[in-house]
């Protein structure tokens, strides 16, 4: 089972966090700090797997963004790399040539996509098409009343 997924930038700024097991706030902060320092210190082209306490950390860098996933002892590291990759593919399909800015400005979308892809620390849907279809289905409802929203923006 996956324990947590973190996305952070090259400068160590957190972009997205997902905790699959309940973790106290203080612990979260410590983990985020540990992960960023540990992963950012890695040289390019070194191994994508790390040990941290009793967890296996699998990380991968996509452009300026680091994806960092924590696994339990029995999990398959290579498969985890593919999970990260599939997530990036999903983001890419949704945003169209995704970049860090997309995730910064639309982080809630990134969360929604993640929720369709993973659930409870396990993979839920591996098909790109299906995940995107359900995200777009939800988004459709949003587009419907987009105009009202702008009004609110203007007058609110």
């Amino acid at each position: 089972m996956m324990r947590f997924l973190l996305l952070f930038s090259r400068q160590g700024r957190l972009r997205l966090q997902k905790w699959f097991t309940p973790t106290p706030e203080r612990e979260k902060k410590k983990i985020i700090r540990d992960m960023t320092t540990m992963v950012l210190a890695r040289k390019p082209r070194s191994c994508n797997f790390l040990h941290w306490r009793d967890l296996k950390i699998v990380y991968k860098r996509y452009a300026s963004l680091y994806f960092c996933l924590a696994l339990e002892d029995q999990d398959n590291e290579l498969l985890a790399l593919e999970i990260l990759h599939r997530y990036v593919e999903l983001l890419d399909k949704y945003f169209g040539n995704v970049c860090e800015l997309d995730i910064i400005f639309n982080f809630e979308k990134a969360y929604f996509i993640l929720d369709e892809f993973l659930m409870g620390g396990e993979i839920q849907e591996t098909s790109k098409q299906i995940v995107n279809r359900s995200i777009e289905a939800s988004d459709m409802l949003q587009e419907d009343d987009n105009s009202d929203w702008y009004e609110v923006e203007l007058f609110g």
């Binding site: 040289k43 070194s46 498969l79 997309d102 993979i123 939800s138």
Partner: protein, 1148 residues
């Protein structure tokens, strides 16, 4: 998808024409969030960012509170609040609004609301209760998107005790027509199974239906549950093996819809899940394994090496093949596969190859031999992760012949490593492969970070020695020599622990070295006393060693000099040691009787009741002396005598060193600690125990050759030429060439030669001829030297000894009670055995310990309400988890999973098997609730037949006994699986007997709930149970102490109101910048105290027992130590707390 949505989808193109991109969210960079983000990126300093965010937060706060804010605006506000939280700023005011948004918004707003809730709130957050109704409503909604959202949030962070409320609705969704709903429902149930297994027990047959679902996605989801259940009980699911094999066959054969392909590999996630399940089922089971050989072969064949995902499948396949009952043909293929991994230029694959090698090397050492040169290369790899993995592999193949080289490599790594976790792990491993010189390096590098058992066990081993006395002498002699030379060098840089070890060894054994004048050693030791950073603990070790050594006129004068210099020390312990030293140096006869040479092994008999003093006491009493009063009583009288005391502390009370000076060969640490229990003479009994040093479990890696060899390790490795199958003549030649001038037969390039030489020294003794030499590092015996030391009964760690001592003093009382009980009520001849009597059982205790620790780790994460430090404090009495899985493991986790739901998240002690009869197994643990301490007894029917009232099958049942507070009806009696609840009324930290008595009486009351023979066995076992459950009453405070939050004013009022008080000096921690804060922090974390205020050099601290009696503590930094003054309405509480404070500080 719902029909509505599907229709919308068909209308998609026309809508999209407005905005050509599907991810039209990009627009929002013009929104307020966009402004905020841009604002932040333009800032230059952290301070500016903070100001901006605070401004942002207050504006959000204002708007969310306004009644005019629409849900739509609220959604936008929530997104901004989430962003602020992600940057690390708290926006707790918005939590309630997030819930409101999820409750009241339209589908889209709801989605943001749920997202915000799942990001803001933790599982145990009280606001979550407000969410339950929303979730219930959404689960029943006709809008599929709402149902999906509800299921998602439920699997993300739903409070455990609320699961029953929604469980029926989630269950219902298993038969939903839409597969996505079914899939999410299965995953939600999987999550429930993980956090509260007993609540989903009744739907096991529905899981089976999910497994047979026509949608492969639903089936895949159900495999998560099956993996978990099979992990816990592989026997129960053997009948499914054929089904799993068939599924895997179909998947591998590409029978699934294209949707499931990932980069044209059919359903890799599903494949890997199935492989994991199969390996669990086939483990140690030949007939089951035989069913899967074919499909494993097929998987190996189909997974062509071309993409990461196929490597992932291959890796899993290889693991399965090596886990199940072996088949030669498959093993061969798997070995080839591992070879490909190891040799791969891709670093990730190399890493996994090494890992796989580590995994299989126990079964097939030859495989490592085949790749020895690659391994050597990896050992010098620039990536530390690879390096570490290689060391792990080497660790597994360590034997008597290659240990020197391997340890050397490990130490090299240790020098490079900066990470504490790695250091601790590696130090443990090295310690297992230890010997003196290595230990020296370990001590100096590992320093004060390592566990205290390592030096303790080291000394133990040294004093107990090996089988032959000559060997012992040499080992000790070597230790003495190396330490003397170390002290002559620069002792100032050595860690404290190492200095302590050095002093002890020199004190005990320096006489073995002829020609070494005691005075020389004394001077060396005396130098340590003058060093600035030597801690007072170390100083007393040094002085003790000196007392053992002082002989002859030189020494007397040195002792004189020392006593003049240190006689005025503020540290009372030091003062006493110096006095002892002076007296003993003057009186050789006395010294010989007090500190006999070479007596470390002889068990000391300690009269714990101090009866030898009886004559003296009665004489003194008859001569008119005042009877003994415990120190706090004296203090009190002193305070009463003085009408007005402006000084908060009287004379600092000399620590009662009642008999420490006589009990020699103890770590001084222990003594000063036990002195905290003023007036409690029984605590001395443990010293007898600890002096008979136990060595069981410490693996003797080091034979004669081992430690002799280490002077010149390289030569050693070259000399020992065990013919290994792969040692070609040329390699042997290469190995020789560096020492001798033997010309190399084949001209090999220099670096290559080095590698070959290293290889021959590393892999010596690994081949098939010498497979006997393979050290038993099998999974069943993870004999970590350091871990073992913590284990049951063999520890010299302070905590263990304390509990032992209490145990021994108490057992008489317990037995008495037990006998009474037997006389009055017992008529049955139920076979009952206490854990102590049954070796097999006590072994079980040992194994369960391991799991529970892991369990506790888990709890540490799952329950933020419980301070983790408490758990850490507890774990001093539990053993570390064994390095590998052991067969008993699932059983225990199974038990703990049967804790009632409301207790499952709380921290509990290890589950201790109490007894078992032919049909019943009893185990118990205690659970720490916020306001109570519960004793939970697991009753497990181990027979095939049903027992009336307990219910048949293997379902363990729980009985909860609230231990504290008094007489309260157990608050948690509603949970499933609770058979009976016993109110218990008793209180008292010192009155152990009362505690036991009451509990036993309570058990009689259970009769109405449970069958009588069961009760009988329970009552009989109360003794062992309570003793083990509470980790003895001395630890009660650790379980019961809770912070008491009061203001400084309230503290003042309380202080004046309490009568019982105690004063004592405690050690001050020096590691932080502010010793007072550092010390108080440690105490706070370990003992759940509340630090009320710190003013200058003074601090006030408060705590209480559950909801009951308070205890106040006033601390002041005074002359390098911490003067504490405790007050409480209960007489024993201050003493007890004081004792735990001392322990906590010592353990720190």
């Amino acid at each position: 998808m719902s029909d509505v949505v599907e229709k919308t989808l068909t209308a998609l193109p026309s809508l999209l024409s407005l905005d050509s991109q599907p991810g039209s969210g990009k627009l929002s960079s013009t929104s307020k969030l966009g402004n905020l983000i841009r604002g932040i990126t333009e800032l230059t300093s952290k301070h500016e960012e903070e100001k901006l965010i605070q401004r942002e937060l207050s504006s959000i706060k204002e708007q969310v509170a306004s009644p005019n804010t629409s849900m739509r605006q609220m959604k936008e506000l929530m997104v901004r609040a989430i962003y602020c939280e992600m940057l690390g700023y708290e926006a707790s005011f918005s939590y309630i609004h997030a819930i409101k948004l999820a409750q009241q918004g339209t589908v889209l707003e709801k989605r943001v609301g749920y997202l915000a809730v799942s990001l803001f709130l933790n599982e145990s957050h009280e606001l979550l209760l407000l969410l339950v109704n929303t979730v219930l409503k959404d689960l029943q909604s006709t809008n599929l998107i709402e149902v999906c959202m509800a299921l998602t949030v439920v699997s993300q962070m739903f409070p455990k005790d609320m699961i029953p409320a929604i469980l029926p609705l989630v269950e219902e969704k298993l038969t939903h027509p839409k597969e996505i709903i079914r899939r999410k429902a299965v995953l939600a149930l999987y999550k429930f199974y993980l956090i509260a297994p007993n609540q989903v027990q009744h739907i096991h047959n529905k899981f089976r239906k999910a497994l047979c679902d026509k949608d492969p996605g639903v089936m895949t989801a159900s495999l998560h549950i099956y993996l978990q259940m099979i992990k816990e009980n592989p026997e129960g699911y053997k009948d499914l093996t054929a089904s799993f094999v068939t599924i895997l066959k179909q998947v591998v054969g590409g029978k699934l819809p294209m949707d499931f392909n990932y980069h044209s590999v059919p359903a890799p996630w599903l494949q890997i899940q199935l492989l994991r399940i199969l390996s669990l089922l086939g483990k140690d089971d030949q007939s089951t394994s035989e069913m899967m050989y074919e499909v494993l072969d097929e998987s190996l064949r189909r997974a062509e090496m071309n993409h990461n995902i196929t490597y992932a499948i291959l890796y899993e396949c290889v693991k399965s093949i090596y886990t199940i009952h072996p088949k030669a043909e498959l093993l061969e293929k798997a070995a080839k596969c591992i070879g490909n991994f190891v040799l791969s230029p891709k670093i990730n694959l190399k890493y996994l190859g090494l890992k796989a090698l580590t995994y299989v090397v126990q079964q097939d050492a030859n495989l490592a031999l085949q790749h020895q040169l690659t391994i050597i290369e990896c050992l010098d790899h620039s990536d530390l992760v690879i390096k570490r993995e290689t060391l792990e592999l080497l660790f597994r193949i360590t034997n008597a012949q290659n240990v020197t080289v391997i340890v050397e490599k490990m130490l090299e790594f240790l020098r490079l490593s900066k990470d504490d976790y790695t250091t601790i792990d590696l130090v443990g491993k090295v310690a297992e492969l230890w010997f003196i010189e290595t230990m020296n390096t370990v001590f100096s590098l590992g320093g004060d970070m390592m566990q205290p058992d390592i030096p303790n066990s080291f000394l133990r081993l040294l004093s107990e020695g090996f089988d032959s006395t000559e060997e012992d002498r040499q080992l000790r002699l070597f230790a003495v020599d190396s330490y003397v030379s170390l002290l002559q060098g620069e002792p100032g840089r050595l860690p404290q622990r190492f200095l302590q070890v050095i002093s002890w060894v020199l004190g005990e054994y320096s006489h073995l070295r002829e020609g070494l004048e005691p005075a020389t050693t004394l001077r060396l030791l005396a130098k340590l006393l003058d060093m600035k950073h030597t801690s007072s603990e170390t100083k007393s070790w040094v002085l003790l060693a000196m007392s053992k050594l002082c002989e002859g006129p030189d020494c007397v004068s040195l002792a004189q000099e020392l006593s003049e210099r240190h006689g005025g020390s503020l540290d009372t312990v030091l003062r006493q040691r110096v006095q002892e030293l002076r007296h003993l140096s003057e009186d050789a006869e006395l010294r010989a009787s007090v500190l006999p040479r070479d007596a470390a092994q002889e068990p000391l008999e300690v009269d714990s009741s101090l009866s030898f003093l009886d004559g003296f006491v009665s004489e003194a009493l008859s001569a008119g002396a005042a009877p003994y009063k415990p120190p706090h009583q004296r203090q009190e009288e002193l305070a009463q005598a003085k009408a007005l005391s402006l000084e908060p502390y009287g004379l600092s009370l000399p620590i009662s060193m009642s008999s420490c000076s006589l009990a020699d060969r103890q770590s001084p640490t222990l003594l000063s600690m036990s002195s905290g229990l003023s007036g409690n003479s029984t605590d001395l009994s443990h010293k007898g125990g600890s002096t008979t040093l136990k060595l069981d479990g410490v693996k003797r890696v080091w034979g004669k050759d081992g430690y002799l060899a280490q002077k010149e390790p390289v030569e050693e490795s070259a000399q020992v030429e065990v013919p290994s199958p792969l040692c070609s003549p040329s390699r042997q030649g290469g190995a020789d060439s560096t020492h001798s001038q033997t010309p190399t037969p084949t001209p090999t390039p220099e670096p290559e030669k080095e590698k070959q030489q290293l290889a021959s020294s590393l892999f010596v003794g690994l081949g098939s001829q010498s497979s006997v030499c393979l050290m038993g590092k099998s999974e069943q015996t993870p004999q970590r030297f350091r871990r073992k030391a913590k284990g049951q009964g063999s520890s010299s760690g302070a905590s263990e000894q304390i509990s032992n001592s209490h145990y021994s003093t108490q057992s008489t009382v317990d037995n008495l009670l037990c006998n009474n009980l037997l006389d009055s009520t017992v008529t049955s001849d139920l076979a009952v055995s206490t854990p102590e009597q049954t070796p097999q059982l006590s072994q079980e205790v040992a194994t369960t310990n391991g799991t529970c620790d892991a369990e506790q780790d888990l709890i540490e994460e799952t329950d933020p309400g419980n301070s983790p430090s408490l758990i850490r404090a507890n774990s001093t009495v539990t053993a570390d988890p064994p390095a590998h899985k052991d067969p008993d493991r699932p059983k225990d986790s199974c038990l703990s999973s049967h804790l009632p739901a409301e207790l499952a998240g709380l921290s509990h002690s290890e589950i201790i098997p109490l007894c078992s009869s032919q049909n019943l197994d009893l185990s118990a643990c205690h659970v720490q609730k916020e306001d109570a301490l519960l004793l939970v007894i697991f009753i497990e029917n181990s027979s095939d037949s049903d027992i009336e009232q307990i219910g048949g099958g293997e379902k363990p049942q729980c009985v909860g006994v609230p231990v504290f507070p008094d007489g309260e009806e157990a608050s948690g009696s509603r949970g499933a699986g609770w058979d009976g609840v016993l109110p218990a009324a008793f209180w008292g930290i010192s009155s152990h007997a009362v505690l036991l008595q009451t509990s036993i009486n309570q058990f009689h009351q259970v009769h109405c709930f449970l069958p009588s023979d069961l009760l009988l066995s329970m009552a009989l076992l109360t003794q062992s149970m309570l003793v083990s459950c509470f980790c003895l009453t001395s630890l009660l405070f650790l379980c019961l102490g809770r912070p008491l939050c009061v203001s400084t004013e309230e503290y003042g009022t309380l202080w004046l109101a309490f009568s019982q008080d105690t004063k004592q000096n405690l050690a001050l921690l020096n590691d932080g910048q502010d010793p007072l804060t550092a010390t108080l922090d440690v105490l706070k974390n370990k003992l759940q105290l509340h630090v009320v205020d710190i003013i200058g050099a003074e601090g006030i601290v408060a705590c209480r027992l559950l909801q009951g009696q308070p205890c106040l503590m006033h601390c002041r930094v005074h002359a390098g130590s911490l003067a504490v003054w405790l007050r409480s309405p209960v007489p024993d509480l201050p003493d007890c707390l004081l004792y735990h404070c001392q322990r906590a500080l010592q353990e720190h």
